[in-house]
């Protein structure tokens, strides 16, 4: 019995030992403004990371560099063993493996919810339409809004739209999910329904990189919390150490501001 579980544990740790994102000495400028300074970050498979920090610290820019929505000028980014350069084919490959959820949802308003979800699989992975629709309905059930499949995004509430956005990204079966402040544009009642979906997603073993101010979510789900300020990674630690025992002054200042209420 212990031999069997030992092997399962070994397999599990082998899966998780793999470094799925490697960022080495990465710098980025917007014109003359040095927005990301010497970023060194390794993300393991199935790891859940929450990135926090004050406005303008570069956290959104960092995760947008991972799927090439922003270009880095110096350093290396390697996603799933593919290096991120100007090669369009590699960029497209990486984008198929990395899903992204935006603060402003960015659903396609001229398509129904179901069509939003099947657009990627049909046109990028050449999936036949019925198969894509079945998969889309499966993911819509996972985010608990299967009955909205034929509606247009304009007819849904914010929380429902964000859940559709999550389902849309999941339909491409990505290995990594990036979340750029997913709940910042939502009413408090809707934040919970989206966070529940994200917790369930984390439980299934998805690698997640979440930029968020939801510290409760970080405490529940995160394997690691990263604090960024002015373009640098100041501190990273597991949630207990991070919240109870911050090392740097800037981290302490930020935590005192954000946990005040």
């Amino acid at each position: 019995m212990s031999e069997v579980s030992g092997t399962a544990e070994q397999i599990q740790s082998a899966i998780q030992d793999r470094e799925i994102i490697q960022i080495r000495n990465m710098h980025k400028w917007f014109g003359d403004f040095h927005v990301l300074k010497n970023i060194n970050l390794t993300v393991n498979n199935q790891e859940r990371i929450v990135v926090c920090g004050p406005s303008g610290s570069g956290k959104s820019t960092l995760i947008r560099c991972i799927n090439r929505l922003e270009e880095h000028q110096k350093g290396q980014i390697i996603v799933d063993d593919i290096e991120l350069t100007n090669d369009l084919k590699k960029i497209d490959l990486i984008r198929q493996e990395v899903g992204m959820v935006f603060q402003s949802f960015n659903l396609f308003p001229h398509l129904t919810v179901l069509e939003n979800c099947t657009l990627g699989p049909i046109w990028v992975r050449q999936t036949p339409k019925t198969e894509a629709e079945d998969a889309a309905m499966h993911y819509l059930e996972r985010v608990k809004i299967p009955e909205q499949a034929q509606k247009y995004p304009g007819q849904l509430s914010g929380g429902q739209q964000q859940r559709v956005a999550i389902a849309r990204s999941l339909c491409m079966s990505p290995k990594i999910m990036l979340f750029d402040e997913p709940t910042s544009a939502l009413d408090p009642e809707m934040i919970k329904e989206v966070l529940d979906v994200m917790v369930e997603l984390a439980d299934t073993g998805m690698t997640m990189l979440v930029v968020s101010h939801e510290m409760g979510f970080a405490k529940t789900v995160a394997d690691r919390v990263i604090f960024m300020d002015e373009g640098e990674i100041i501190e990273q630690n597991d949630p207990h150490q991070f919240f109870d025992n911050p090392q740097h002054d800037r981290t302490k200042l930020f935590l005192s501001q954000i946990l005040a209420h």
Binding site: L69, D92, R95, M100, N106, P109, H110, G120
Partner: protein, 434 residues
């Protein structure tokens, strides 16, 4: 009507008051008249004056157009001898001229057939409620233009294709291109597939045009009247929209500076010169660039000039729509793995074009009316035909009738486009319900 009158019929317990219709003065046409026309003393006077002006104008106009009109005439003497109203006999006597220009009178069935086919194919495509939108779009786009050319103009002699000896060569070429296309499907090679099938299609079309249904050839300078106006308007509409979309997308291609500046050059050049200049230059300068012995006729020149000119206008209209799409849409499309072409075609363009339907249709309507400028290069569109008809000695003095008729024709064309676009917008809005 005392609006303060209360209904003293009954009182109801709380929470059980039934919904009742409003009193008569509060609804319907009487209310509308009260509010809009008679609400103050000066509005009431203005209403009465307005009604009086209408009384002065409408009945005499009606009488001129219909009441005392002359419906049969063979010269303006008959018109003067008539009841004194409009002389529509003038239009009827020269009807073929107005409608088809100098087209051979026995062959009128050819443009008629082309027109009927166009309507039959276009209606399922333009009116989505009628089934078969996609099914009819393919013959409409890929087969109908060549059929229409063969009907209207007859066979077009293209030297390389008419020699029978060459014909065998061309057939061999076409078969090999089709094979290339099928190989491309098997090996999933987009380039082979696209190149093979499109070149085969071009070759087949060129051979077909040469033979052209075996009808008698009709020179294009015999086109005139409504036929010419419609040929010019429809062709330039159909060509300028895709051309404008391509130019607009090219102008926004930041990563390809050669393409970008070429598109800016084309757009700014053609927008900066008057259409008349473009037409003149097309007719006089393009033949200088062609090898000896080749000549394009004036109609083709006019079509090329009109299409590029309005393509440039359309490009800026489309660019306005592209600018209105939030950056997040591009980012979301990119993040699910759609490349530039797929995200533009599936996400960006459907939204952008829907936003600028008013601008696009506006440009279409302006195009339809600007086709009259081809009179500069000697083509007899409907306006020119009218002008030359009323200066004919037999029909002097009938300007009103002539221009009223032309005005009516243009009004029908342009107003139909306007109504269709409003219907299309309403339909697309109910789908989105944003």
């Amino acid at each position: 009507m005392n609006l303060n009158e209360t209904n003293t019929a009954a009182t109801y317990p709380i929470g059980q008051h039934p919904s009742m219709p409003p009193p008569a003065a509060e609804r319907g046409i009487i209310k509308w008249l009260n509010i809009n026309l008679f609400n103050t003393w000066y509005n009431s006077i203005a209403t009465v004056l307005g009604l009086y002006f209408l009384y002065l104008i409408i009945p005499p106009a009606f009488d001129w157009v219909l009441g005392s009109a002359t419906w049969e005439a063979s010269s303006n003497k008959d018109c003067r001898a008539g009841a004194g109203g409009a002389c529509w006999g003038f239009i009827r006597a020269r009807f073929v001229l107005f409608m088809y220009g100098f087209y051979d009178a026995e062959s009128i069935w050819r443009p008629n057939l082309a027109g009927i086919l166009l309507v039959a194919l276009a209606i399922p495509v333009l009116v989505p409620k009628i089934p078969g939108t996609r099914f009819f779009a393919i013959p409409l786009i890929f087969l109908y233009p060549w059929l229409a050319i063969s009907l209207l103009v007859g066979p077009i002699k293209i030297t390389l294709f008419s020699d029978p000896a060459f014909l065998v060569l061309w057939i061999v070429l076409i078969i090999s291109l089709v094979f290339l296309g099928f190989r491309g499907i098997k090996t999933n090679n987009l380039a082979k597939r696209g190149l093979g099938f499109s070149l085969a299609y071009v070759a087949i079309i060129l051979i077909y045009l040469n033979w052209g249904l075996g009808l008698a050839p009709m020179e294009t300078n015999r086109f005139g009247g409504l036929l010419l106006t419609l040929v010019l308007a429809i062709t330039s509409i159909v060509v300028s929209l895709p051309l404008g979309i391509v130019l607009a997308l090219g102008r926004r291609a930041e990563s390809l500076p050669v393409v970008k500046y070429f598109c800016i050059g084309v757009i700014e050049l053609f927008r900066a010169v008057p259409l008349i200049t473009v037409l003149f230059m097309a007719v006089n300068m393009i033949p200088l660039f062609l090898p000896q012995g080749y000549s394009f006729d004036n109609l083709v020149m006019a079509l090329i000039g009109l299409s590029i000119f309005f393509g440039a206008y359309m490009a800026e209209v489309v660019r306005g729509g592209l600018q209105a799409i939030p950056k997040g849409q591009f980012e979301a499309a990119a993040s699910i793995g759609l490349n530039y072409y797929k995200s533009t075609g599936l996400v960006v363009l459907p939204q952008a074009l829907k936003i600028v339907i008013p601008g696009i249709v506006n440009t279409f309507i302006a195009m339809t009316k600007d086709t009259s400028l081809v009179m500069i290069i000697g083509l007899f569109d409907i306006l020119m035909i009218t002008k030359s008809s009323i200066t004919d000695a037999k029909w002097l003095g009938l300007e009103w009738e002539g221009y009223a008729f032309v005005g009516l024709l243009f009004w029908v064309l342009c107003f139909s486009m306007s109504r269709y676009s409003q219907w299309l917008e309403r339909r697309l809005d109910t789908e989105r319900r944003n």
